[in-house]
């Protein structure tokens, strides 16, 4: 889902950068206010390192495609959405600058899709499900649906950005269905990994969520 350079026109690049920078400034303030920062930084780093490595495992799918875990929803469920956005930002920044996975001009769009949309959709769905379904069943179901929906909506957002780029008029009729349908299918694996890992971490290591001091609680 990493959009390379050349796929978005300058207006979309500038617009997505502006939204992402504004959000990251706001998220920084929320992290400082709501988190125990001295514990949040090491957790953010370890999560980012783990997700970076997990993203290198491309799972081949018969028919000539492949997928990899993204991890935005998982980070949000365990660490809360504001810190999770920084986890994803760190991963995407290193991927773009060091390995050219995703473009520089499209870094704003990639952080918007995987570090904001995936994170928030996953988190909100998880919260909604766990409100009605309690216990470890709620954690598993919420994390599965959160992981699946997060990646599907993020894929649809990437398709929309590419399709609405004035360089490719009417492309949205192609790019949105392709991106949304494929990610809805591939999202099942994202949901399953998110569910198993989130359930393990939240039941065996509940101390992880105590990084959030007040306000937005991760679980």
């Amino acid at each position: 889902m990493h959009i390379p350079d050349g796929y978005l026109d300058p207006i979309w690049c500038a617009g997505t950068y502006a939204v992402t920078i504004a959000y990251l400034i706001y998220a920084y303030r929320r992290v400082r206010a709501n988190y125990d920062v001295s514990r949040a930084i090491p957790l953010m780093t370890v999560f980012a390192a783990g997700i970076f490595v997990a993203q290198m495992l491309n799972w081949p799918i018969p028919g000539g495609t492949s997928l990899h875990f993204v991890g935005g929803a998982l980070s949000a469920i365990v660490l809360g959405p504001y810190l999770a956005s920084y986890v994803m930002f760190l991963v995407l920044l290193v991927q773009a600058l060091v390995f050219h996975d995703g473009g520089i001009t499209t870094l704003g769009a990639n952080v918007l899709n995987m570090g904001i949309i995936d994170v928030w959709v996953g988190y909100l769905i998880y919260r909604l499900v766990t409100r009605y379904v309690g216990g470890s069943r709620g954690i598993f179901l919420g994390a599965f649906l959160g992981g699946w929906a997060g990646i599907t909506i993020a894929g649809a957002a990437a398709g929309t950005e590419i399709g609405l780029s004035p360089w490719f008029p009417y492309g949205i009729y192609i790019s949105l269905p392709v991106m949304a349908s494929w990610h809805a299918l591939l999202g099942i694996v994202e949901g399953a990994i998110t569910a198993f890992v989130a359930q393990y971490l939240l039941t065996k290591h509940p101390e992880l969520t105590q990084v959030v001091k007040v306000g937005v609680r991760a679980s």
Binding site: M1, H2, I3, P4, D5, G6, Y7, V37, S38, I41, P42, M44, T45, V46, A48, A49, G50, F52, V53, A54, M56, L57, N58, W59, P60, I61, P62, G63, G64, T65, S66, L67, L90, V91, V94, Q95, L97, V98, F99, H100, D101, G103, I104, G155, A158, G159, I162, G163, F168, G171, I174, S175, V178, M179, W182, H183, L186
Partner: protein, 97 residues
């Protein structure tokens, strides 16, 4: 910052990554949904024309793809860890003031 258990898990994932990221990906032909949309819209991927890093696509110049992929994993892991240590150091220095 990172526990022994976490480090072992990450090392295991890095060791396994070339199998998935290179061998199996080549077997099916690496093709993400974004590539499909890009092809249909005739979008031009200009990554190789405008490139700023020798480690493009998780390769290391002069090394076979499988080895390079694993080395790239170690590099990325260490860079992220380094950035984390730097942020932590700055935060600790500021809070001591």
């Amino acid at each position: 910052m990172i526990s022994k258990k976490q480090l072992i898990l990450i090392i295991m994932l890095i060791a396994l990554s070339p199998l998935f990221g290179v061998y199996l990906a080549n077997l099916v032909g690496y093709h993400e949904p974004l590539d499909v949309a890009g092809d249909l819209l005739h979008l031009k991927d200009i990554r190789y024309q405008i490139n700023w890093t020798p480690f493009i696509d998780y390769t290391v110049p002069g090394l076979p793809d499988m080895v390079g992929y694993a080395i790239a994993g170690v590099m990325g892991f260490l860079i992220i860890l380094g950035i984390g240590y730097l942020i932590n150091w700055v935060h600790n220095k500021r809070s001591r003031r």
